[in-house]
Assembly symmetry: C2
DNA sequence: TATTGTTATACTCTATAACTATA
DNA sequence: TATAGTTATAGAGTATAACAATA
């Protein structure tokens, strides 16, 4: 553990925190144009890439307690972007689906999210991108 | 723009969002052990690595509006971890400093934050770490 | 009994704007 | 006038626990 190592990891730590803010702040920026909060933006993006999702799965993806997700889904439903639908085969389960307006907004915002993240990592060398993807997937699946 | 490229960037995008949640969630986890919110944890960490900081600089680092920072500093001050001090040379400026308890808590939490971020990236090859640090610093300084 | 989701409560956080004090 | 910070307000997000319905 040399001086240089310590400094290096400290810098990387700071960079990672900055990156995380930057990424989650993006949802804020992008949502604002559609009169959505960051969480609502992330919610519709999470739904559109999965088409139809259980509440419980959304909670895992978005790191939200079920009660908090309930509230977020309430507000986004009131905003007219999503709908709840009961699973007739297991009536404990609720699916979240996009409305017509929701689909439009989600398509547009998700497109912009992807584009911006793309721009963000385009500056990284290809092998860093690959390595990063692999490691992050391993890390975040736990 | 081949199929593979598209899939690759989509995976990386998903990974980045996951990573960001993971990182900011860490502050939550770590803070909980000290009866701190995620924002309070990040605040004391941001202060300890800078010793004494202006409100305005804290706002930039933490991506907070000045009014929101004011509230966060209020709550953290009430919690007994920080103090405000006026700059006698420019009385518009307020510095945030740690109290004795704040210094202890901040040392402990910052240490754990660094350790966990360290574990997080330890799986990346050294040159990837370096490259990542450089690029992310460039990205987030804007 | 375990799982899925809702409701209730109290608090923190956020966005916006109007404000005070200093330079 | 510009800058640094506070206050006020309304809404959104969060943690926790108790609850209802289904399996």
């Amino acid at each position: 553990m040399t001086e240089i190592d310590t400094t290096g990891t400290r810098e990387l730590a700071k960079a990672l925190v900055g990156l995380s803010h930057h990424v989650l702040h993006m949802f804020n920026d992008i949502g604002r144009g559609h009169d959505l909060t960051a969480q609502q933006t992330e919610l519709v993006c999470a739904v559109i890439v999965r088409d139809r999702v259980r509440m419980s799965d959304l909670g895992k993806v978005m790191h939200l307690e079920k009660s908090n997700l309930s509230g977020l889904v309430d507000r986004t439903e009131k905003r007219g972007l999503i709908m709840r639908r009961r699973d007739p085969e297991d009536r404990r389960v609720t699916y979240v689906e996009l409305t017509e307006e929701g689909r439009q907004v989600a398509t547009s915002t998700h497109c912009e999210v992807t584009r911006r993240l793309n721009d963000l990592v385009a500056q990284l060398p290809a092998e860093v991108q690959l390595s990063l993807t692999e490691v992050v997937e391993k890390i975040t699946e736990s």
